[in-house]
Symmetry: C2
Subunit: 361 residues, 2 copies
C-alpha cells in the first residue's frame, strides 16, 4: 500500500552496484576510494531519479549523529518576549541541516532531568540551555558529567559556578551605558532617576544579571560625564503595576527630568504615573528603557529603549554550539568563554532636551 521510502538498497539496485558503493559515492568518499567515474555517475543519477534521501534515524543509529540539537529553557520557549530567540536558533540550525527539539523545565529540576534524558535518548548532538531572563543558573549534572561531554551552550544565562560551558549573553553593561548616553546626549545632567533598581549596586532583584549589569553600565557612563544618579526606586517585579507604583512614589517628593526604567513594562507603568501627575513625556520628563518589547512602539510617545537582541542571541548560541561540537575535544576543561551580543538603541520619541526650569528634588 504505502510505497516504502526509497532506501540506499533501491539506489544501489537501480545503479547496478552494491550498497557499499552507493554509500561511498553518496557520502562523497567515492573519489578517495577509487570509484570509477562511470559508476559514480550511475549512482548519482539513480539517487536523483528515485529522489533518494537518507533516513536520518538510521544514520543516527550508526554514527551517533542525529543532526538535531536540543533547546531547553526554563520558560523562554513560550515567553512572548523571547520567541525570537527560538527563531534565531531555528534558522541558524536549519542552515546547517539541523532540527531543534524544544523543551521547557518550568524551573523544575526533576522535569529538567527528564527532559535532558529524553533528549539524550534521542541522541541530540548538542544542547542549548536557555533562560527567560538573564541570570545565573545551576548547570544540571547531566550536562556537566565529564563522562558524557555533550556539547552545550548557556543562553541568556551564566553558570553559578565555574564550568567549561560557553555562554551567550546580551551585552547588558554596554546597554546600561547606551541608556545613560542617550540622556547625556540630549543634554541631561540633573534629575536623572532610576525605576526598577538602584541606586546602589545592591538594590537589584535576586539573581538578575541584567539588573546588576545595566545598573553598572548606567553608573559608568554617567560617572564619565560627571553626572550622578539623583535617586532610584526598586520594584518587586518588573511589571507595569510596580513601575506605576514606584514612579508615583517618586513623584510624590520630586520632579525628575529623566527616568531610566529597567524595562519597558516598568516604563509603561511610569508613563501612567507621569500622566497621573500631569507630566508630559518627553517635554517634562524624558524616559529611556530596556528590552524593546512590542509595547515600546505602541505607547505614545513611542519609547526610546535599548533592545534585547533575541534573534541574534538565538543565532549566536547555535553558532557557538557548532563551534563547540566541531571543537577538538582535546582542549576541554578550560572555562567556557562568555560571548556578548550587542544591544542596540532604538531611538524614538520619549527623550528630549531637559526643560529649562529647575527640578524640584
Amino acid at each position: 500500500m504505502s510505497p516504502r521510502r526509497v532506501t540506499l538498497a533501491d539506489v544501489a539496485k537501480a545503479a547496478g552496484v552494491s550498497r557499499t558503493t552507493a554509500s561511498l559515492v553518496l557520502s562523497g568518499r567515492g573519489r578517495e576510494l577509487r570509484i570509477s567515474q562511470d559508476v559514480e555517475q550511475r549512482v548519482l543519477r539513480a539517487a536523483e531519479e528515485l529522489q533518494y534521501r537518507p533516513n536520518i534515524v538510521s544514520v543516527g543509529l550508526r554514527t551517533g549523529i542525529s543532526r538535531t540539537i536540543g533547546f531547553v529553557s526554563d520558560t523562554v520557549a513560550t515567553s512572548r518576549l523571547a520567541g525570537d530567540m527560538i527563531k534565531g536558533a531555528l534558522e541558524a540550525a536549519r542552515e546547517r541541516g539541523f532540527m531543534l527539539f524544544i523543551g521547557e523545565t518550568e524551573g523544575d529540576a526533576e522535569l529538567e532531568r527528564l527532559l535532558l534524558q529524553a533528549m539524550h535518548d534521542r541522541q541530540v548532538d548538542g544542547l542549548i540551555l536557555a533562560s527567560m531572563f538573564t541570570r545565573t543558573i545551576t548547570v544540571p549534572k547531566a550536562v556537566t558529567a565529564a563522562l558524557t561531554p555533550l556539547p552545550a551552550v548557556l543562553l541568556n544565562a551564566l553558570p553559578d559556578r565555574p564550568t567549561p560551558l560557553p555562554a551567550v549573553l546580551p551585552d547588558e553593561i554596554e546597554a546600561g551605558r547606551h541608556a545613560a548616553r542617550v540622556l547625556l546626549d540630549a543634554g541631561h545632567r540633573d534629575g536623572v532617576y532610576l525605576i526598577g533598581a538602584g541606586p546602589g549596586p545592591g538594590d537589584v532583584p535576586q539573581q538578575s544579571v541584567a539588573a546588576a549589569e545595566r545598573l553598572a553600565g548606567i553608573h559608568e557612563a554617567l560617572g564619565e560625564a560627571g553626572v550622578k544618579v539623583a535617586g532610584a526606586r526598586t520594584c518587586p517585579d518588573w511589571l507595569p503595576e510596580y513601575g506605576l507604583a514606584a514612579t508615583r512614589d517618586l513623584l510624590r517628593t520630586v520632579r525628575p527630568r529623566a527616568l531610566i526604567c529597567f524595562n519597558d513594562r516598568i516604563a509603561m507603568g511610569a508613563y501612567q504615573a507621569l500622566d497621573d501627575f500631569g507630566l508630559k513625556v518627553p517635554a517634562d520628563v524624558s524616559v529611556v528603557s530596556f528590552d524593546d518589547h512590542p509595547i515600546a512602539s505602541w505607547v505614545r510617545p513611542r519609547l526610546t529603549t535599548v533592545a534585547l537582541p533575541h534573534y541574534e542571541l538565538g543565532r549566536k548560541a547555535v553558532d557557538v554550539l557548532f563551534a563547540e561540537i566541531e571543537r577538538d575535544r582535546a582542549d576541554a576543561g578550560r572555562p567556557g568563554r562568555v560571548h556578548r551580543v550587542p544591544m542596540p538603541v532604538r531611538a524614538r520619541e520619549s527623550v528630549a532636551r531637559p526643560p529649562a526650569a529647575e527640578p524640584l528634588g
Copy 2:
C-alpha cells in the same frame, strides 16, 4: 573514556539471559510469552541497577516510531502571542513521552517543503500544522499525499479545500457572542460600534476566519436582543496605530457608548483615541475586545476581553493528533472534524452601564 550507554545487551548479560528475553520482559510481553517469574525479576532488577533506558533512535529504526511530533507553523512558534500554544502542545506531548520538533516556514512554500522533508527524514509520528492567526491555508501536498498518510492536524487554521485532516480552532463565533453579551448584560442597547471589521460580513480582512466569525457572533447575539450595530470602522491591519486612526475617525462624527474592538491591540489604539477626545473608559464609553494579549491587563482601566485560549489550543491539537495516530486507518478519507476550543471572557474594568445621556450619533 566515555563509558558507553547501557544497552539492552548489557542488561541481558547482567541478568544472564538473551537480548530477546530481556526485550520481551522490558516491553511487558514477558507474561504472554511465558517468561518465568524468576527471569522476569532478574531482568527487571538488572535494568534498574544499570539504569537502562532504551535508545529511542534504535527503536525508531526498528519500529518506525520515533516518539516525536513535528510542529510546523508559518510563524506562530516565535510569535509573542502564541508561545502558549507551543507550551500546551509541549506539555501534552511530554505527558505521552513525546518530543516536539519545531519548524517555521515564514509562509515560504519551498521552506515548508524542506521542513516537512526534514521531519519526514527523522520519522516523526505526526504533524501539527499551525498558523499564527486563524485563517485558511493550503495544505502542503507532502501531507495530503494519500501514499504516506502521516497523521496531521491543523491548528488555528482551516484547509482551503476539503481534506481528511482534522482542525483545531478557537470558537470565534461564540467569542463574538460573548463580546456582544458582555455589553448587553451591562445594559447597552444603542451606540455600539465595531473597530477592526464590519459592519457588513464582507468588511473583513482577507483570509481571516477570526474576523468573519467574531463578526457573525456579534451580529447574532446582538440580533437576538433586538440590538443593531450602530456603525463600524475597518483597519488595514489589526495594530494599535490603525485602531487609533479608526477610532479617531469614528469620534469625529459620533459619540459611541460602547466599542467592540476586534483585538486588544486595536483596543489599545482606541484607548488612546478616546483619551484624545477626553472620553473616559468605561464611564463614557465601554470597550470590549478579543485575544487577552498581555497588554489587556497592563492598560488602565484593564481591558475586558475574550481570551484566545492558546495553551488549550496547543494541548487540544496534540490530543487530536494522538487520536489520529491511534485511529484505525480503515476509516481514512472522510473529511476531518473541526474541533472548537472555547474562548473565555476575561471580565475586567473597561465595561460599565451606558451613561444616561443620549448618544450623538
